[in-house]
């Protein structure tokens, strides 16, 4: 039950993007297509969960004055491992995400959760906090990624879904959707809707 509660809090009430407004830059950059967004979401979830778990397990041994360095060392090694795995097993995706996988290191969610949660809580709880935050991030990315892919290129996961008949009636793909500003606008509208629906308030219920 604890787990479900943490997940719900992290995804709905204090979603990392919508409420904590962390990790927005990568959300703008990789959401051109749904597939990129999903891989990025999964990579980030693994990183946050892993770093939260590791840091939480050694939290009583980390010298307080160098804790940021220790956090960064752990996070960047995890990201490196994920980068290597992508290069070996998902080469095209690794090319499409290019520098952004490496930039997970600087993604504020990872550092933020390590500082705010992992250093003060037990490993298992921290692990689930990481999963919850990662999934919360991934869901937002997936929603924005699919909107951008549908309206920007008429596809979903690379398959054409907007029928040719509509194109022949004069419909055109929206070029703006392919650029980062579109993600910014969509993200704003998304947060607005979420707040209207009672989410992203930050209150734990």
């Amino acid at each position: 039950m604890e787990i479900i509660k943490t997940m719900k809090n992290n995804i709905w009430y204090s979603n990392p993007i919508a409420f904590q407004v962390l990790g927005v830059c990568s959300a703008l950059a990789v959401t051109v297509q749904l597939e990129n967004s999903l891989v990025m979401g999964i990579s980030l979830t693994l990183t946050v969960a892993g770093s939260n778990f590791i840091l939480s397990s050694i939290r009583n041994y980390i010298p307080h004055n160098i804790r940021i360095i220790v956090e960064l060392a752990v996070i960047s090694s995890l990201v490196n491992v994920i980068d290597e795995l992508l290069l070996a097993y998902y080469f095209e995706m690794s090319k499409a995400l290019s520098v952004f996988v490496g930039l997970i290191i600087t993604n504020c969610i990872v550092m933020g959760r390590a500082e705010a949660f992992a250093l003060a809580n037990a490993p298992i709880a921290s692990f689930w906090d990481g999963i919850g935050n990662g999934v919360g991030y991934a869901i937002v990315l997936a929603i924005i990624g699919s909107i951008r892919e549908i309206f920007g290129s008429g596809c979903i996961l690379g398959y054409k879904i907007v029928p040719e008949a509509i194109y022949s009636l004069g419909y055109v793909d929206n070029g703006l959707m392919l650029f980062p500003p579109a993600a910014f606008i969509l993200l704003g509208m998304f947060i607005c809707c979420l707040k209207a629906a009672g989410g992203a308030t930050g209150e734990e219920k």
């Binding site: 950059a29 307080h64 060392a73 090694s77 490196n80 290597e84 795995l85 290069l87 070996a88 980062p180």
Partner: protein, 239 residues
């Protein structure tokens, strides 16, 4: 507070553990990554020649079927030993029906703003008209210099010509739209749209296309003579 001794021991231990983890993953995955890179290069060669392929197995199959790698000397002769260091790499692409080479692909290397650009250029058998260009490795700014690997920029080059009236001319990469460049009317075939905001990368591509094709000049001169096609002069023959 922790003592200095504790802090130093802790960091040393941490570094040792992390380096083992990283070195371990890197060496375990190395073989697969190299294989991926190899296939990616093959895909780039095929793409440069205008052949589109979907997945990795298809890349390998098509590559083995259509592509013949060779090495040519500075004098333009085909070398038997591909290990010759002075030679230049060249790939001939076979047409499925006539089984004659309809395109040659060669690597092009040049300097961008931040990094070295690596790519492939594909030309017609006379070495004049460009069939396609790809870039497979670079470290340019995403959204600016990195646009060189995007389709719109690469499509620019298709049909452009490296020679004008039998002399090497190269390709000018304009600042922004090519129509606005000086002398556009007389050089339509030798000018492409550049990337606004990435002038240095664009100029890098231009320099690369001014020097790299010259390495193959003699080879194409030889093949053209045997084919009876006057070099770059007779553009209608190539349609």
């Amino acid at each position: 507070m922790y003592s200095n001794k504790y802090v130093i021991t802790f960091t040393t231990l941490m570094c040792i553990i992390i380096s083992f983890v990283l070195a371990g993953t890197s060496s375990v995955l190395k073989e697969r990554q190299l294989y991926n890179k190899q296939v990616d290069i093959q895909r780039n060669i095929l793409n440069a020649a205008g052949i589109s392929v979907k997945n990795m197995t298809e890349v390998e199959a098509k590559y083995n079927e259509l592509v013949t790698p060779m090495t040519i000397s500075v004098q333009g002769n085909i070398l038997e030993q591909s290990e010759d260091l002075d030679g230049h790499k060249l790939f001939s692409i076979r047409d499925v029906e006539t089984s004659k080479a309809y395109a040659y692909v060669y690597p092009i290397i040049g300097k961008g703003l931040w990094s070295t650009l690596y790519g492939y250029l594909s030309v017609t058998p006379s070495g004049n008209r460009i069939i396609g260009i790809t870039f497979y490795k670079h470290g340019e700014t995403p959204g600016l210099g990195a646009e060189i690997e995007k389709n719109w920029f690469r499509k620019n080059f298709i049909g452009k010509e490296l020679y004008k009236n039998g002399n090497f001319k190269g390709i000018t990469v304009a600042k922004g739209k090519s129509e606005n460049e000086l002398g556009y009317k007389n050089n339509k075939k030798h000018i492409v749209d550049g990337i606004s905001g990435a002038t240095i990368t664009s100029k890098g591509v231009e320099k690369m296309l001014a020097s790299e094709p010259l390495k193959y000049h003699k080879f194409f001169l030889n093949t053209c003579n045997t084919m009876g096609d006057r070099y770059g002069n007779n553009q209608n023959n190539e349609k």
